[in-house]
């Protein structure tokens, strides 16, 4: 029952939390650059504006695919916060990402095409870590169900330090932050305009942004799981990790896709893979 309530709460509050997180993110980023920055609720204003605009598009398919992207991002969250199977949530997340990529491909725009290719590369850079992390949680808590993991009283991070570091690294891909903002980013980049998002406008873009808010909350939820036994510590960890992401975003320039992919895979293999193999031998 509690888990169903959590799921409903996710549906309603995740965008709120997402707006606040990304609003604070934009203010801190501005301060790091010596600027004042927008109001905290700016991300909400942006999305609300996008839904006010005219519905335009290249053809019918992209908007429908983007809607599926949003829908399955929400489904992922519902499974995750509803206490469902962690692997199932991961696969729903992948499905959602694939819909975004397909929407970008279906626009047949050169920029979106390049962005979609890079988005796929980001996807394969990230996928192994997440699966390994889920297995790591299973080894520590004895269950793949998020509800069981949430009832775990210890700190999984103590047994999963390697996986934790790899997850923090790949979070940069998922949050679309520099140096791994290859396929699109908050700021316009010359060579691919807005990458996967180039052809989406108005409510279609609004749905992408909304999905990203949900995604941010899900990702922070995964960080939470590493410190599940101690909620205060967990929230502190989320804040620290997010600050690190902002710092990296503002102090690095983007890398090319090949070093990004190689780096992510190597870290996953050595730290993540090493972690679970060592754990299984303990």
């Amino acid at each position: 029952m509690i888990t169903i309530l959590t799921a409903v709460a996710f549906l309603i509050f995740a965008p709120v939390i997402g707006v606040l997180v990304s609003g604070v993110d934009r203010i801190i980023t501005a301060r790091m650059q010596g600027r004042v920055g927008p109001p905290v609720l700016q991300p909400f204003l942006d999305i609300a504006k996008l839904f006010e605009k005219e519905k335009v598009g290249v053809w019918q398919a992209p908007a429908v695919l983007i809607f599926l992207h949003l829908a399955f991002m929400v489904v992922t969250g519902l499974i995750f916060f509803g206490g469902g199977d962690l692997l199932l949530a991961i696969f729903a997340l992948t499905l959602s990402e694939v819909f975004l990529v397909l929407a970008a491909y279906s626009t047949r725009s050169p920029y979106a095409h390049v962005g979609a290719g890079r988005e796929l590369i980001q996807l394969i850079a990230v996928e192994p870590v997440i699966i390994i992390a889920a297995v790591g949680f299973y080894m520590v808590t004895g269950s793949f169900a998020a509800s069981d993991i949430m009832n775990y009283s210890g700190l999984p991070v103590i047994l999963l330090p390697g996986i934790f570091i790899s997850v923090v690294c790949i979070l940069t891909f998922k949050l679309r932050k520099s140096p791994f903002d290859l396929s699109t980013s908050h700021h316009a980049h010359q060579e691919l305009v807005k990458g996967v998002m180039t052809e989406f406008s108005g409510s279609t873009l609004g749905m992408v942004e909304l999905a990203h808010l949900y995604e941010t909350v899900i990702l922070l939820g995964i960080i939470y799981l590493f410190f599940v036994g101690n909620p205060l510590l967990a929230i502190l960890a989320i804040i620290v990790v997010y600050m690190l992401e902002i710092l990296a975003d503002n102090s690095t320039s983007r890398v090319k896709w090949l070093p990004a992919l190689r780096g992510a895979w190597l870290i996953t293999l050595i730290l993540g893979g090493g972690n679970i193999i060592a754990l299984s031998l303990l």
Partner: protein, 647 residues
């Protein structure tokens, strides 16, 4: 209450009917040159086989494993004579083509099986010849229904194939005859309990594969056919060794699959591992995999029937049969690792391919690798995953092969780059292809459920092998997402709406494509009943008790997700679709949609090409490293066998 004896007789007759019936159309088709009559015979033959297999599946629900003896004492002798005849034929054709290595292996096998027959002839009657249970019945349905659909599809496809290849002799009578002979042999493989029987049918499938690969009769096709033959013979040589080992160490009463598994790992592990080697060759695992890629020169229905949905499944079927023997054994883990490495390496190679049939071939090898990995792990959950992988792979992959074949005849290319925006000129086939691809890797569809179950299974497997397999699977499934998603994207990159060119597709092709698409979706919705009524009882038979399989609630979520994918677009279409359509953004220099103007006034249409990352995933390099790793693993396996006392 029907008499138990009556049931037995009924079963034996049904099994023998399924094995022997396809031989009738095969014989008729060899002499039939009239196309209309051929269509009738093929359709009837395929239909009756399919119905028979469905009937068997219906009988199997609620029945346990059953064993039967065929009341024909001389049948062993007949088989031996047939084997000698096949060997003789292979020696003659190989000698003609100067393939002396093949001759060597043919003679070696003949020698071994002759030895085995000599040792075990009197033991023939001690074990039941046939068996049936839920697993066999599932395999039979795959062979009967999917195989039947492919045979019907071949009617339309081969007519166009001959039109496209005017230089080839029209050998269609032989072609269809071999297809039906193959169906018969496949039924034989999955119904055999006696290993000598299984070996006989196994060799017949190898022969059929050889004959069908060389159908185009080009130099490349002939070479590839002999390569397929050679690799399968190398693997196949392990089969009679296993039989001899059983006869020497366990006695002829252990010659049946049922009694061998019941005898426990102490006796069964070594022969099971030997058969697994034969299975790896048949299922094109690294380092044997190159034969399957080469086999893609054959006409597409052959690729669909033999080299993705059925024959290569015989290999994994044999390994999965012995899965309980591998449970918790290091040797089983070595086999699992061979499958795992194959899965990862061939998935990576698939990224670098733009030829659709090669992508399908590599992905077939990869998925077979995953099945081998599951079977090698051998826990009930792993076997559950393996059987579901077999089912979903057979359906989705045959759908994909057939739709690629149809597209190839329409657009004159099997290159994925040429399928840009295929959703416009071929909306129905495009949609079927999308469903097939989604079936291969996306969440609520079948394959992913099995992948999910295999992660669950590996995480409980013997450490640290289980974790190594998890890491392999994690990378492999990421890579899988990449090459499928970019293919799907290519299909959706619609330039403009064009006239449909689908009206030229023959009825026979639609008759196979539509049911296969329906099957892909129905099987996904039907996971829960398939699991409850077929696979779980089978696992109970094999393992005694089973615990915590995939919970039903999660399957429900999957089905709900699938429903969402179908329902949401329809519901939201009206609200979502754009009110005004815009040109694509191309830096403002668009002349008209999709055409841009360069600095010197040159007008160009945009051309987009997918990422193939050949530098990162080179085909030659990867298969070399993959082969080295798997050869090392095979050596470990052989060392294990030798230390176990096989030689």
């Amino acid at each position: 209450m029907i008499d138990a004896k009556l049931i037995t007789v009924m079963y034996v007759e049904l099994l023998l009917f399924l094995i022997l019936f396809p031989l009738i159309p095969a014989l008729i088709l060899t002499v039939l040159r009239n196309e209309n009559l051929r269509a009738i015979v093929v359709t009837a033959g395929a239909g009756i086989s399919a119905l028979g297999s469905i009937l068997l599946l219906a009988f199997s629900v609620g029945q346990n494993q059953l064993f039967f003896t065929v009341p024909a004492p001389d049948i062993a002798l007949v088989m031996l004579v047939l084997e000698i005849l096949i060997a003789g034929y292979l020696v003659i054709v190989s000698a003609k083509a100067k393939q002396f290595l093949v001759i060597g292996f043919v003679l070696l096998q003949l020698l071994l099986i002759g030895g085995a027959e000599y040792l075990g002839l009197e033991g023939h009657s001690k074990v039941p010849d046939l068996l049936t249970d839920e697993f066999s019945a599932i395999m039979a349905v795959i062979i009967g229904v999917i195989g039947g659909l492919i045979c019907i599809y071949a009617l339309g496809y081969m007519r166009e194939y001959q039109e496209h290849h005017k230089d080839l002799p029209d050998n269609r009578p032989k072609f269809f005859a071999v297809l039906f002979l193959f169906l018969s042999a496949m039924f034989g493989v999955v119904f055999s309990n006696n290993l000598i029987w299984m070996y006989f049918f196994w060799e017949v499938t190898t022969l059929c594969s050889y004959l069908l690969i060389r159908y185009p009769e080009t130099e490349e096709a002939i070479n590839n056919a002999f390569r397929a033959l050679l690799y399968n013979l190398i693997g196949g040589a392990c089969f009679p060794i296993a039989i001899i080992y059983i006869l020497v160490n366990g006695g002829s009463e252990n010659l049946g699959i049922g009694s061998l598994i019941a005898a426990g790992p102490a006796i069964a592990l070594i022969p099971a591992s030997l058969i697994a080697i034969a299975g790896c060759a048949k299922s094109a695992q690294l380092p044997f995999s190159s034969w399957l890629v080469g086999a893609m020169v054959a006409p597409t229905p052959v690729s669909a029937l033999l080299h993705s949905s059925t024959m290569v499944k015989a290999g994994v079927y044999a390994i999965a049969r012995f899965a309980p023997v591998f449970d918790g054994q290091v040797l089983g883990m070595v086999i699992a690792l061979i499958g795992g490495v194959t899965f990862l390496v061939t998935s990576c190679i698939a990224i670098s391919q733009s030829n659709a049939k090669k992508v399908l071939a590599y992905s077939t090898i990869a998925n077979l690798g995953l099945i081998v990995a599951c079977a090698g792990v051998g826990t009930p959950e792993a076997l559950w995953a393996a059987i579901f992988l077999i089912i979903f792979h057979a359906i989705s992959k045959s759908l994909l092969f057939l739709s690629v074949g149809t597209v190839e005849h329409r657009i004159g290319s099997r290159d994925i780059e040429d399928m840009t925006g295929l959703a416009a000129p071929m909306p129905k086939v495009g949609l079927m292809m999308l469903i097939g691809i989604a079936g291969m890797f996306l969440a609520p569809f079948g394959m992913l459920i099995s992948k999910w179950a295999s992660i669950h299974a590996f995480s409980q497997a013997l450490p640290p092998f289980g974790m190594i397999l998890i890491v392999i699977l994690a990378y492999g499934s990421a890579v899988t997402v990449f090459f499928w998603a970019k293919w799907m994207g290519k299909l959706l990159e619609v330039r403009k709406w064009e006239e449909s060119i689908e009206f030229k597709i023959s009825k026979a092709e639609w008759a196979a494509l539509i049911p296969l698409t329906a099957l892909t979706i129905i099987a996904c919705f039907g996971i829960a009943p398939i699991s409850t009524y077929l696979i779980e009882p089978f696992l109970v038979t094999m393992y005694g008790k089973i615990s915590d399989l995939i919970p039903a609630s999660n399957l429900m979520i999957m089905v709900l997700m699938l429903a969402l994918i179908v329902v949401l677009p329809v519901l939201m279409m009206k609200i979502l679709i754009p009110r005004r359509s815009l040109r694509r953004y191309m830096g403002g220099v668009t002349v008209k949609d999709g055409v841009m103007e360069g600095s010197l006034g040159m007008k160009r249409e945009i051309a987009l090409s997918n990422l193939y990352l050949e530098d990162l995933f080179p085909e030659a390099g990867l298969s070399k490293y993959g082969s080295v790793i798997t050869i090392v693993l095979f050596c470990v396996l052989l060392l294990g066998l030798i230390s176990g006392g096989v030689l």
